[in-house]
């Protein structure tokens, strides 16, 4: 790696930050296969929910009947949309946050250390939640829980949660490593 132009840690950090920034922009411009797969799921579930809801309206209001279980099916598809959508949001660093330290502190080691710590904490918390959701999923497998209307195993729906949360954990981890590399002033 390039040595920092002076021994100044701040300019080394700036350099590292610009490099990470460039990497992120490149990733956004050329998303990988995993992201494209997620987008396919997001678009497919979005189209499916819209279509099912439209079918529901047409049958209910034009023909006076509803297809049994269609609402339940929609809500299951929507759950997939939410969790994969949220994973994609973590990839795009678009999760809602309200950092005040970022605003209060000037760019520097203190601010960057806080950022790195926040990312690390986020990753750990998200990983923990992934474990919980996996337990919840396994519970629905063991108890053979079936949906009330359509009668499909709840496991098919519940697995969207550990998958979405695991992906989020993965993207948070990458972000943590990136922020840490900025903190150290290297890439």
């Amino acid at each position: 790696m390039e040595p920092s132009p002076s021994g100044d840690p701040l300019s080394a950090m700036r350099l590292a930050r610009d490099r990470v920034q460039a990497q992120r922009e490149q990733r956004a411009a050329r998303p990988g296969r995993l992201i494209m797969l997620q987008r396919c799921v997001m678009v497919a579930t979005g189209v499916a929910v819209t279509t099912l809801m439209s079918i529901q309206i047409v049958t209910r209001y034009l023909f006076g009947f509803s297809i049994y279980g269609i609402e339940e099916l929609m809500s299951f598809i929507a759950v997939w949309l939410y969790f994969i959508g949220s994973a994609h949001g973590a990839w795009g660093r678009g999760q809602i946050s309200a950092s005040l330290l970022d605003v209060a502190l000037p760019f520097g080691q203190m601010q960057q250390a806080c950022r790195t710590l926040a990312c690390l904490v986020t990753t750990v918390l998200c990983g923990w939640m992934t474990v919980w959701s996996a337990q919840y999923f396994l519970n629905s497998v063991h108890r053979h829980l079936m949906s009330l209307e359509v009668g499909i195993p709840m496991a098919w729906v519940n697995i969207s949660m550990p998958i979405g949360l695991a992906l989020m954990t993965f993207y948070f981890l990458i972000e943590t490593l990136e922020e840490f590399s900025i903190l150290r002033g290297r890439t």
């Binding site: 997001m42 309200a98 904490v121 959701s133």
Partner: protein, 434 residues
């Protein structure tokens, strides 16, 4: 209040301030309670989150977001602005009025304040600066009026309020409309005051057209966009569909309008609008997911009841209690944006609201105006900051204008909404006979 809850609140605030995303800050607060509480295996809490996100009712959320994005990508902002400009543009401070009116109408199509800033701010801020408005002022005006998106239906915040409190979404949609109209009037008033101090050029009607012909021509161009709120509201309040089904109708309406009539959206762009909308939805729903877990735990620890008791210790006068409710909401609004605020505060304050004997539909309007105001009040002021980014305006001079909008527009409306039930209940009574 137990010390564990107080520690937990501090942990939550610390995580938020540090910059941990709001949903995971809630997860952190959950973990603290679980580790030091008596719950045994806490994986069941996932069920609390799942129960909230898997409802058919909240499918309204992705659908309205999708419909709103389809229309914004389809170029409605331009058409709405031109139309409003043909009517108000030649008045004193006309462009400011155009911003207020356009964001309000845009709000009737989109449920998110951020989309209003992005769609209208990008066009209007440069145009206002060009005509002589102060950049900081133009930007603040866009931010303050973009909040109308969550007061005028459809609104993501009101869908979630209705869902977490078990209140009808159709009624929650109607409650904040009149407070929203009051805000519009106040914005227009303050715009006139500020504009009179700036050197501003007036718009001229295009050559060869009378002003009236101009309005008609621009109105026709905007008509498909203007028709969409009518379709949505007609479906819901004409007894045709539930609010969720009306959302699907909005999507089905928006696709051909933006693809074939306005033609600003290309079929290729459709793909992007779909995944982008799904991402926005996912980011909101993960918040709902973790907020539901946290709020379930707070219920198990009896916190809403304790909040009520603390409030009652201060006073049992409803006027004072309502003031406390608003102070509580203002504090929440300083820490987080509207959706997180609603998810956290609504279940916590519901016992107080019931004690006072207030209709939860009126509380919908209070919470919407108060937490809407929170979107532009620092330290956490996402809409103000986003507008500053879009308008390329420095924050410091914006704060002066922001204070006027908050103290002389939002705050009076919040108080009026709190103490005059008719403002929020008139429309639900009229249209739903509640």
């Amino acid at each position: 209040m137990s010390s564990l809850i107080i520690i937990d609140t501090l942990v939550l605030i610390a995580l938020l301030v540090m910059g941990v995303p709001v949903p995971l800050s809630f997860a952190g607060a959950v973990l603290v309670l679980v580790c030091f509480g008596d719950l045994g295996n806490a994986a069941f809490l996932i069920g609390a989150g799942y129960g909230k996100v898997s409802s058919v009712i909240v499918i309204a959320l992705p659908l309205y977001i999708l419909a709103g994005n389809l229309m914004s990508q389809g170029g409605i902002a331009n058409r709405l602005i031109d139309f409003a400009d043909s009517i108000f543009g030649r008045m004193r401070g006309g462009l400011g009025i155009v911003v207020v009116i356009t964001t309000a109408v845009f709000g009737a199509i989109s449920g998110m304040a951020t989309s209003a800033v992005a769609a209208i701010g990008t066009i209007m801020i440069p145009r206002m600066v060009e005509r002589g408005y102060d950049r900081a002022y133009a930007t603040t005006l866009v931010a303050a009026s973009s909040v109308l998106a969550l007061l005028i239906p459809p609104s993501a915040s009101m869908i979630l309020y209705g869902w977490v409190t078990g209140t009808s979404i159709a009624a929650s949609f109607l409650a904040p409309i009149i407070p929203g109209l009051l805000l519009i009037l106040l914005f227009i008033f303050w715009n006139r005051v500020f504009a009179s101090r700036m050197r501003i050029e007036q718009t001229q009607a295009p050559a060869g057209m009378t002003p009236f012909q101009n309005v008609r021509a621009k109105g026709r161009r905007a008509s498909w966009a203007l028709l969409m709120p009518m379709v949505i509201l007609g479906c819901i309040y004409g007894g045709v569909t539930t609010p969720t089904e009306a959302a699907a109708i909005a999507v089905v309406y928006a696709i051909p309008v933006s693809l074939f009539i306005y033609r600003d959206l290309k079929p290729k762009g459709l793909w992007q609008v779909f995944w982008y909308s799904a991402e926005t939805t996912g980011v909101l729903m993960i918040l709902v997911f973790f907020a539901a877990m946290f709020s379930r735990l707070l219920t198990m620890e009896n916190v809403p009841q304790q909040i009520l008791e603390v409030f009652l210790m201060v006073s049992d006068n409803p006027i004072v209690l309502l003031l406390l409710v608003n102070l509580f909401l203002i504090m929440i609004g300083m820490l987080m944006e509207d959706v997180s605020g609603i998810l956290l505060a609504a279940p916590m304050l519901l016992p107080v609201i019931k004690e006072i004997g207030m209709d939860p539909v009126q509380f919908a309007a209070i919470i919407a105006t108060n937490l809407g105001m929170g979107l532009i009040t620092p330290p956490t002021a996402p809409i103000l900051y986003f507008a500053a980014l879009v308008g390329k305006a420095p924050l410091a001079p914006m704060l002066r204008y922001m204070l006027v909008f908050v103290f002389l527009a939002y705050l009076p409306v919040v108080l009026l909404t709190t103490y005059i039930p008719e403002l929020s209940l008139f429309l639900p009574r009229l249209l739903l006979g509640r």
